[in-house]
Symmetry: C2
Subunit: 289 residues, 2 copies
């Protein structure tokens, strides 16, 4: 199997075999597991085949693919090389040990792809009369953020926006929990103040998940240009969002899930899913796939 | 602070200070982090204050509480001791180092409680005309199982039943993800065959989450005595469940969530939440908290 893969790879001039742990490109790649590394280099790394293919198929600009031809399948390599014909990037082939030092966590399917960091400007988010935004403030766990992106993808949301970020769309665990959907999803990062201004200026009907809110989530009207807003795992939404509730000239409501048991809240990504699917149900999912 | 806590603790005769790592009870307790240890001893351990208090307030039979009076608050200890007045169990106080070797993962709030393993017999699950069961087959990740229990608690479900288990209700990560709700929730473990027989014999209206099913989840009728059935994270439901679908004399339907994006499925605990809240919405949540 391995010789097959190498036969397949080696004739391609774009594949560069690197075996030295001192190679600067590999050192740089290994640093992309941390937010410090990502910020310093203005690049992000995507670990795993499914996530990498979704990223390569998006608008994100690839820099290089790092493969371990001893691990990954020739089918996966062929897919990467097919994309390479349209988007120029290099392919580096690493021995197993060096690959394992470069990858994140237990991802062992032999593919890492590196991209220029995609922009996440609030101004890039489009609004129409039928937009459906999902906004999260200060979510801490990248797995929760990625799960919310996965749900937003599933319901066909227009964007995911993070206010006052505590984690990164491009944290490896966020990318993974999103199954790579984070690349195709329009997304933005801004301060809570900027997001509140943006909602107000665009007159977006805003449903804020608040423990103890009067309105049950299914009683809200999710038609039109809407945003669902969720807060931090432990603290919920911060004070400025409560002030927004008082602007009665805007269509803003606090909503909550009924809680019939011992616990007074659900996980933020679970709450997001229930709210997003209720929005989709009301907005008409009979025509959906 | 520490001397306050000790003043508070030491006069109580039921608190036993243990400082030797060779103490057999502490060695046994440390083994409860593994399923092998839990099975061998017929006991389970609960890590953390919130989860322990929920377990102590349930019908589960406590054996002992292990505290680290250097770490946990006197308020938490007072709560445990208040419960101890009604339910006899011992309290062992460990120094920090020994406590950390006995606890699971990063739980550092200084309380472990140990219980006789609660029974999980299918025959213990009650059925009425308005029961609402949540059934999961072969879920692998204890965090997913616990999250499903948390959701089942939130919607006031009658039970959570695991068919052909691959993980344990009492895995520390399951207890934690359930926030301790797993103790109050009626629960059972059985083979898929037994669960299918039970559903059939009790004529329970069964909605099975199946990728590609014809019926969209909100088109199903969740009234009456119902079960929502979810499959394994990767494989979905096994073949016997598909055969059940063909028994047209029973009210059994395959349902699915609409997927409008790149991905063809959601996480099993997310799917459970969307289905459970749709059931609750249809069953009437206007009177709920």
């Amino acid at each position: 199997m391995r010789s097959d893969v190498l036969d397949f790879l080696l004739p391609l001039t774009s594949v560069q075999r690197i075996t030295s742990p001192q190679n600067q490109r590999i050192k740089d790649a290994a640093r992309l597991t941390t937010s410090r590394g990502r910020n310093a280099q203005g690049r992000i790394a995507v670990y795993g085949v499914r996530e990498s293919l979704r990223a390569l198929q998006s608008d994100a600009k690839p820099v290089e693919a790092i493969v371990c031809s001893e691990i990954t399948s020739s089918e996966n390599l062929a897919e990467v090389q097919a994309i390479q014909k349209h988007k120029p990037f290099e392919i580096l082939d690493l021995p197993r040990d060096l690959f394992k030092k470069t990858t994140y966590g237990d991802r062992t399917d032999g593919l890492i792809t590196i991209f220029e960091r995609p922009t996440t400007k609030l101004g890039s988010i489009e609004n129409t009369a039928e937009s459906f935004h999902v906004i999260v403030e200060s979510v801490e766990k990248p797995g929760n953020l990625g799960a919310i992106v996965r749900t937003a993808d599933a319901v066909g949301a227009s964007s995911v926006i993070v206010a006052d970020p505590l984690t990164d769309f491009f944290h490896p665990n966020s990318i993974r929990a999103s199954l790579g959907c984070v690349f195709a999803m329009p997304k933005a990062v801004a301060t809570a103040e900027q997001v509140i201004d943006w909602l107000t200026q665009n007159r977006i009907k805003t449903m804020m998940a608040i423990v103890g809110a009067q309105t049950l989530y299914h009683q809200a009207d999710y038609s039109g240009n809407i945003a669902i807003v969720l807060g931090n795992e432990a603290q919920g939404l911060s004070q400025p969002w409560n002030l927004l509730l008082e602007k009665t000239e805007l269509k803003i409501d606090g909503i909550r899930l009924p809680m019939c048991g011992l616990s007074d809240s659900l996980n933020v990504s679970t709450t997001a899913a229930v709210l997003c699917y209720e929005a989709l149900r009301q907005r008409g999912l009979n025509n959906m796939n």
